[in-house]
């Protein structure tokens, strides 16, 4: 089996006394992975360690089987990185900046221009790129950053908060780019705070907290692992009192509570049996809406981060 795209082995970094990342060991295989965690959990530190911009205090990171170090520069042909800070070569025009980056990567002047144009098209900025970066809005600057990451058509994209400051239109565009990159067999590790947007791109995630790995994998797997927690199903029904009374007889239902209007919240230790049972009520037209609570990223995030304090 080939080496994983990203491998971290006991990767740790402190800034003086301040903890950045402590002992992260994880392998990432191709696909789109959301890098999540509260502020200060080590997301940006991880990105900087993966790109060799900061040196680990302990452990090491590998990209495509190559150990990350300032001298292993060749691997960056396969990696595109968009930093999280709002920084740029302010005095440059967007297209000139990209062309310069392509030229430092070894392109000739013409090839660099073509490459810059191609990357700008991908982020939908081909007309606006002649503006100076210092005069661009935050969202435009973010898109130039993403274009820069896409410049060399890399296999791995490391995007630090790429959606931050983008308007809904460009956000949708960027999300589609990330999705397409994953669908084409590439790897994307991107951090974001906007969970419902992460959710719309991928269900794989890597959750950091206090510099440690809290969870890694598919959302549904992670939810499944959270067994201690009883699962809840919310239904709304005109005959909620009957349903509640009937279900309370079952030993797998541990609690019912009534919400506003016709809401009924069922708590269970065996989700599948409860769902099976509810199908019948549904078929009989007694359920107007039904939803498994807690199975979205937001509540999983809350549970994991909350329980790890």
């Amino acid at each position: 089996m080939s080496a994983p795209v990203i491998r971290c082995v006991g990767l740790a970094r402190w800034y003086g006394e301040v903890q950045g990342l402590s002992g992260l060991t994880v392998d990432v295989s191709p696909g789109v992975v959301g890098l999540l965690g509260p502020n200060g959990s080590g997301k940006t530190t991880l990105m900087r360690l993966l790109t060799g911009l900061a040196r680990p205090t302990r452990g090491h990171a590998e990209l495509f089987g190559t150990r990350v170090s300032p001298d292993q520069w060749a691997v960056f042909r396969r990696v595109g990185y968009a930093p999280g800070d709002d920084v740029h070569f302010e005095s440059e025009r967007g297209s000139d900046f990209l062309a310069l980056m392509a030229r430092v990567a070894g392109d000739g002047p013409m090839a660099a221009r073509a490459r810059a144009r191609a990357a700008l098209e991908k982020v939908g900025m081909e007309e606006l790129a002649t503006k100076k970066l210092s005069t661009m809005s935050k969202g435009m600057r973010q898109r130039i950053k993403v274009a820069q990451a896409l410049l060399l058509e890399p296999e791995l994209l490391l995007l630090d908060e790429p959606l931050n400051g983008m308007d809904p239109v460009s956000r949708r565009k960027t999300i589609n780019l990330v999705r397409a990159h994953g669908a084409a067999g590439g790897t994307v590790l991107f951090s974001s705070h906007i969970l419902h947007e992460v959710e719309s791109v991928t269900d794989r995630m890597l959750l950091l907290h206090h510099g440690r790995l809290l969870a890694e994998g598919r959302l549904s797997e992670i939810v499944g692992l959270l067994e201690r927690k009883p699962r809840r199903v919310q239904i709304s029904s005109g005959s909620r009192r009957e349903i509640a009374a009937a279900l309370l007889q079952e030993d797998y239902v541990s609690g019912v509570s009534f919400g506003d209007d016709s809401q009924l919240l069922l708590e269970t230790r065996d989700l599948n049996r409860l769902l099976d049972r509810l199908q019948a009520y549904g078929g009989a037209g007694q359920i107007e809406s039904m939803e498994i609570a807690d199975e979205n990223l937001e509540s999983v995030f809350d549970t994991l981060v909350g329980s790890a304090v």
């Binding site: 800034y15 900087r48 790109t51 060799g52 911009l53 900061a54 040196r55 300032p70 001298d71 520069w73 060749a74 691997v75 960056f76 042909r77 990696v79 990185y81 930093p83 800070d85 920084v87 740029h88 070569f89 302010e90 005095s91 440059e92 310069l100 980056m101 030229r103 430092v104 990567a105 070894g106 000739g108 660099a112 820069q148 060399l152």
Partner: protein, 263 residues
């Protein structure tokens, strides 16, 4: 695999950045200080009564050493310090360091671009005063003037190489690079390099002054801006020492750029 096109690309950026922004203005103003002095000297000094130096001596014995003492260190600092300083300050250097190229490629590109930007400044600094002073210099032949202008430009530009490399290194190495540069360029350079003592042999200023003395035919005597050197260095030795300094500072800068974290 040759990296020279990559270095040249960064060099072009660095040169453009130094020359075509308002940041070039303070450097330009410092470079024009000798010109201003020459203007004042030409139009206000009482040349007839004697007592003032001849224009030719004014250029060689006052303006040229003054350029070496004050103009050159300040020019180097104003041009070279921000090159890496500004990239590191906010972290824009991250883009250059994540290119598929060794880190000395951007370093060399930024350095040579800055050095290139210093060339017109050095030439301006040496030429304009001569243009102002030569018409009133009476008997002095044009070729002597030409020789002095060319050599002064050259000495200034050669001097910018070690000073600039030192500034480049300081820009990566320290957040208070300005203070270090001030202490090292003025203290270790101009001052230690002209005071007799053990430090003098180590100061690049001594070797630059050596070049100036040899190429401009200045006397090794006490003057307004010169302290006699008991053992004046020869041209070759001076060039070698200065080249050694350039190399050493660039290596230091490379080490710093390899190890400093981008935060």
């Amino acid at each position: 695999m040759s990296f020279s096109p990559q270095v040249l690309a960064v060099q072009a950026y660095s040169f453009r950045r130094r020359m075509l922004s308002w940041k070039a203005l303070p450097a330009l103003m410092v470079a024009l200080v000798p010109t201003f002095m020459a203007l004042v000297f030409r139009f206000f000094a009482p040349h007839e009564q004697g007592g003032t130096p001849t224009p030719y001596r004014m250029y060689g014995e006052i303006l040229a050493p003054m350029c070496l003492y004050f103009v050159l260190p300040f020019l180097s600092m104003l041009v070279m310090l921000p090159i890496l300083g500004e990239l590191y300050e906010k972290g824009a250097i991250a883009y250059l360091l994540t290119r598929p190229a060794p880190r000395w490629v951007p370093l060399l590109g930024l350095y040579s671009g800055g050095l290139l930007a210093l060339l017109p400044l050095a030439v301006l600094c040496a030429t304009l005063p001569a243009l102002i002073l030569s018409p009133i210099s009476g008997g002095v032949e044009l070729r002597f003037w030409l020789q002095r202008v060319v050599f002064l430009s050259l000495v200034l530009w050669i001097g910018a190489a070690p000073y600039g490399a030192l500034c480049l290194f300081l820009g990566v190495w320290s957040r208070k690079a300005v203070l270090w540069a001030l202490a090292l360029l003025i203290g270790w350079g101009s001052i230690a390099g002209s005071i007799t003592g053990p430090l003098r042999a180590l100061s690049p200023h001594r070797y630059l002054f050596g070049l100036l003395r040899n190429w401009l035919d200045l006397s090794n005597t006490l003057g307004q801006f010169s302290v006699p050197d008991p053992d004046p260095p020869g041209t070759l030795l001076s060039l070698l020492v200065l080249a050694g300094y350039v190399l050493a500072f660039l290596v230091l800068a490379y080490q710093a750029i390899r190890t400093r974290d981008v935060l």
